[in-house]
């Protein structure tokens, strides 16, 4: 009769993902154009943007770049006059590409290593949403070997196999108090793998207007045997056994892109990309713990994402043989429906602005830099599951630099 059931202590599960996790930083030139460029055979980053365009690259090349990203999100609880900011932490999205093929042949091989999804959000251990999330560090690294073939002088197709290595570390406070009043804490840490593909077609019309259709498949990433650590008062320890593990499955969505490239002059090209991001795969997030207790049940939480989309317009101007200037604008529609917005991806529709510069001191060597800015609209939300009630506002800043060697 004295039994107390410790259920519902952990009734709120962790969240993961959102459009906010889609990192649109895969090629320095394209970043400078707001992420457009699937219909331009600009450089080796076409391995990502359009495998079909890779075969139209004039030279073999290898490049590496990095885009230190600062995700600045703020939250204000409904009714509060206090704004809370995430800590300044710099996430390092990077990209590496190599493209090679015999000059006289109609095929090229490519390899891309890039980070299409990721997130680094640290709200601190004592913010008002700490019982939903304190920090998230998520990295998805895609490895993509690719083959691209010219079918005719004006049409290329290409496809790549995608292997994803994912790392996730999620932390949150637990609403159980130690004798000194501080809260408990949960940390989930795991590594997962997933597979997919990326295929595209590139068409250069007689007017030199180019078209692209690219599909990147969904990559269901499975995390098995991740560690689930709970820091709770000793009297609750039996409900949160040490050495527990969890399994989870994270669906990274498919993206279909239609691109157009328009030469405005011999030195200036316009690129437009419309992408449809098939987030509807993200119906729910489930955590399956190896050991369940009355206080620690497996969790299944509805996500009910709808598909997202983005529209990006960029311009590339070759000011001289050595110097290129770029700029872009874009707009993306969030897949996160009202009631499902979360602090690790405080998502909303967003504006994109970008600028870039490229410099080629020799015919072999090229440096490209970019600056990418996203203004995620302010969004007042009450989360259906956790009751977290407040307004999120996010700005994203990402300067970037890459080095390329061509031969």
């Amino acid at each position: 009769m004295k039994k107390i059931l410790l259920s519902v202590l952990l009734s709120t599960p962790f969240w993961v993902f959102g459009q906010g996790f889609q990192v649109n930083l895969q090629g320095q030139k394209q970043i400078g154009m707001a992420g457009a460029g699937s219909a331009l055979a600009l450089d080796e980053a076409s391995v990502f943007f359009n495998p079909g365009a890779v075969t139209f690259l004039e030279k073999n090349s290898i490049s590496a770049g990095v885009n230190p990203l600062l995700f600045k999100s703020a939250f204000r609880q409904t009714g509060s006059n206090i704004t809370e900011d995430v800590k300044n932490k710099i996430a390092p999205p990077f990209e590496f590409y190599a493209v090679w093929g015999p000059k006289s042949q109609k095929w090229k091989l490519g390899l891309g290593v890039y980070t299409p999804f990721g997130g680094l959000v640290d709200w601190g251990d004592n913010w008002s949403g700490k019982y939903t999330l304190t920090s998230l560090n998520l990295k998805a690294i895609y490895f993509q070997p690719t083959l691209s073939i010219k079918i005719t002088d004006r049409i290329g197709i290409g496809a790549g196999f995608v292997y994803n290595h994912g790392d996730v570390n999620l932390q949150r406070a637990l609403p159980v108090n130690f004798p000194d009043g501080r809260s408990g804490k949960a940390t989930l840490d795991g590594t997962g793998t997933g597979y997919g593909w990326n295929a595209g077609i590139y068409i250069n019309t007689l007017s030199n207007i180019t078209f692209a259709v690219v599909h990147k498949s969904k990559v269901v990433t499975k995390l098995n045997g991740g560690s689930a650590e709970f820091e709770v008062p000793n009297s609750l320890q039996s409900s949160f056994p040490a050495g527990n593990t969890f399994n989870a499955e994270l669906p990274l969505p498919a993206t279909t892109t239609l691109g157009i490239g328009i030469p405005l002059s011999s030195s200036t090209k316009l690129a437009f990309d419309a992408s449809w991001v098939q987030w509807h795969v993200y119906k729910e997030l489930a955590f399956d713990y190896a050991t369940n207790t009355s206080a620690l049940a497996d969790t299944k939480s509805a996500r009910n994402y709808r598909d997202g989309s983005s529209f990006k317009l960029g311009i590339n101007h070759q000011a001289s043989d050595k110097l290129a200037l770029r700029a872009g604008v874009g707009y993306a529609f969030s897949p996160v429906q009202d009631g499902y917005v979360t602090p690790e991806a405080p998502d909303a529709d967003r504006y994109i602005l970008s600028a870039g510069v490229g410099y080629a001191p020799t015919s072999h060597f090229e440096v490209n830099a970019s600056f990418f800015f996203e203004d995620v609209k302010s969004r007042k939300q009450k989360n259906i599951e956790t009751g977290l009630d407040g307004t999120f506002k996010t700005l994203v800043y990402a300067p970037g630099l890459s080095l390329t060697y061509k031969w």
Binding site: M1, K2, K3, I4, L5, L6, S7, V8, L9, S11, T12, P68, L70, K72, A74, F75, R76, Q77, T78, G79, S80, N81, I82, T83, D85, N88, S128, G129, K130, Y131, T132, A173, P175, V176, N177, F178, P179, G181, S183, P233, N234, S235, L236, S238, S294, A369, F371, S378, E385, T386, G387, L388, D389, T391, K393, T394, L395, Y397, P399, L401
Partner: protein, 429 residues
């Protein structure tokens, strides 16, 4: 050179980005609306005083809902808010319950007895007679607010009065003459709860066990309201929670008792109780057993071979049980008190914090900022170890109910309280 330019470009943009924070503007904390919070007083009982875990102690006093509200009122013209805090040396006040062990879900509740604030062996507390604005007195009732002798009987009230006033001054008089501009009034719980806590048994020599007559309640409550609004002051009143919404009456259930009995003797068929009318019958889940029963060591103990509570000849006595009819009677009184409170408040244009409705929501469970809160004992997070009074987290939640009512009535923007900064029950390490 070019690389130098690029590096500078990146350094500058990063610096720029680090300084450009996203901004969120809301009206919270900008306006007192039609209210004036410059001098706020809080009138009420144990809940107002910050009583928790079966005692009044400094940590609880500091997070009493009026104190949390006053902190937030400060941003819209609120002044200082004084409370009769115990000193650090006597921080544990009257002493209080603490959870000392939890083994397989079974709690052991101990008592904190050091650093107490008693000034004599008769249980009088160290005096605090300078001016205060948190006027909450544990045990205060609407009827006894008009009884002078209660100030001698109640140690929490006695403590706040100079010796000359003890036994003479009524609570009604005590709260007057404080030049307040705003007030909260959350009183009346004990007019029903006092009787319920004694299992629905009225002890004639103990006025705290009386169920206050409905008409008297209405008359006395209107006296209180009239006095507090005598100079046109604005304020907020709280309704009285349903007595069945607190863990005190919902933790030791009849089915739990029967289950425990069956575990020992599978032949056990029913739990027997003595009702308010003196009748003895098998209990149902509509009969509520008081929380302290679990620690009394009475249940199942045989007298003359007949186990307590498991046989019609040795039933659980009336004072431990709020039987179905007593529950209905108390609910009826609470409903009556609440319609009195609401109609008087409405007639004066006061804000109404409907804690009755809110506690009923908590009973089924609410999710606030990622914290599940319900009326379960210990794990529910809102109620302290006495099963009646609030934890710091519960105080923060209720303070927001009051603030929301104030803002809705007076078009003010008193900021809400971040409930995640306040703890639930402390679990032993």
């Amino acid at each position: 050179m070019k690389k130098y330019i690029l590096n500078s470009f990146i350094a500058v943009t990063l610096l720029f980005a680090a300084s450009c924070k996203p901004e969120i503007d809301t009206p919270a904390g900008t306006s007192a609306g039609t209210a004036n919070f410059s001098k706020y007083i809080a009138v009420g009982n144990s809940l107002t005083s910050g009583f928790a875990d079966g005692g009044l102690y400094l940590e609880g006093q500091m997070v009493a809902y009026p104190n949390l509200m006053a902190e937030k009122m400060a941003s819209v013209g609120g002044g200082s808010f004084t409370s009769p805090f115990f000193t650090e040396a006597q921080a544990n006040g009257s002493g209080y319950a603490s959870l000392t062990a939890l083994v397989n879900g079974t709690p052991t509740i101990g008592k904190v007895t050091n650093n107490l604030a008693f000034r004599d062996a008769a249980g009088h507390l160290t005096k605090y007679t300078t001016e205060v604005q948190n006027l909450g007195v544990p045990g205060m009732r609407v009827d006894l607010a008009f009884a002078g002798q209660f100030s001698a009987l109640n140690p929490y009230f006695e403590r706040l009065l100079p010796d000359a006033q003890v036994g003479n001054t009524t609570y009604f008089q005590f709260v007057q003459g404080r030049n307040h501009t705003f007030f909260s009034l959350w009183l009346g719980n004990n007019d029903a709860l006092g009787n319920a806590l004694n299992g629905g048994v009225t002890v004639l020599t103990d006025p705290t066990t009386v169920l206050t007559d409905k008409a008297s309640f209405a008359l006395l409550y209107s006296n209180l309201i009239n006095s507090l609004t005598a100079n046109g002051q604005k304020g907020v009143v709280g309704t009285i929670p349903d007595v069945t919404a607190v863990p005190y009456f919902n933790t030791v259930t009849v089915s739990a008792l029967l289950g425990a009995a069956k575990a020992i003797n599978p032949a056990a068929t029913a739990v027997y109780i003595q009702t308010g009318t003196g009748a003895v019958r098998a209990a149902t889940n509509e009969d509520l057993i008081r929380l302290p029963f679990q620690n009394e060591g009475l249940f199942g103990v045989p007298t003359g071979g007949i186990p307590y509570g498991l046989h019609p000849l040795n039933p659980i006595t009336n004072n431990w049980v709020l039987d179905k009819d007593e529950v209905a009677k108390i609910k009826d009184y609470v409903n009556s008190y609440n319609s009195t409170i609401k109609s008087l408040a409405t007639s004066k244009g006061l804000a109404i914090a409907d804690t009755y409705a809110y506690f009923n929501q908590v009973k089924t469970g609410v999710m606030i900022q990622g914290v599940g809160i319900n009326s379960a004992f210990i794990t529910g997070g809102a109620f302290s170890l006495d099963g009646i009074h609030l934890t710091p987290r519960g105080n923060a939640v209720i303070a927001n109910v009051f603030i929301d009512a104030i803002n809705a009535t007076y078009a003010s923007t008193v900021p809400n309280i971040d409930i995640t900064q306040y703890r639930g029950v402390k679990f032993p390490n």
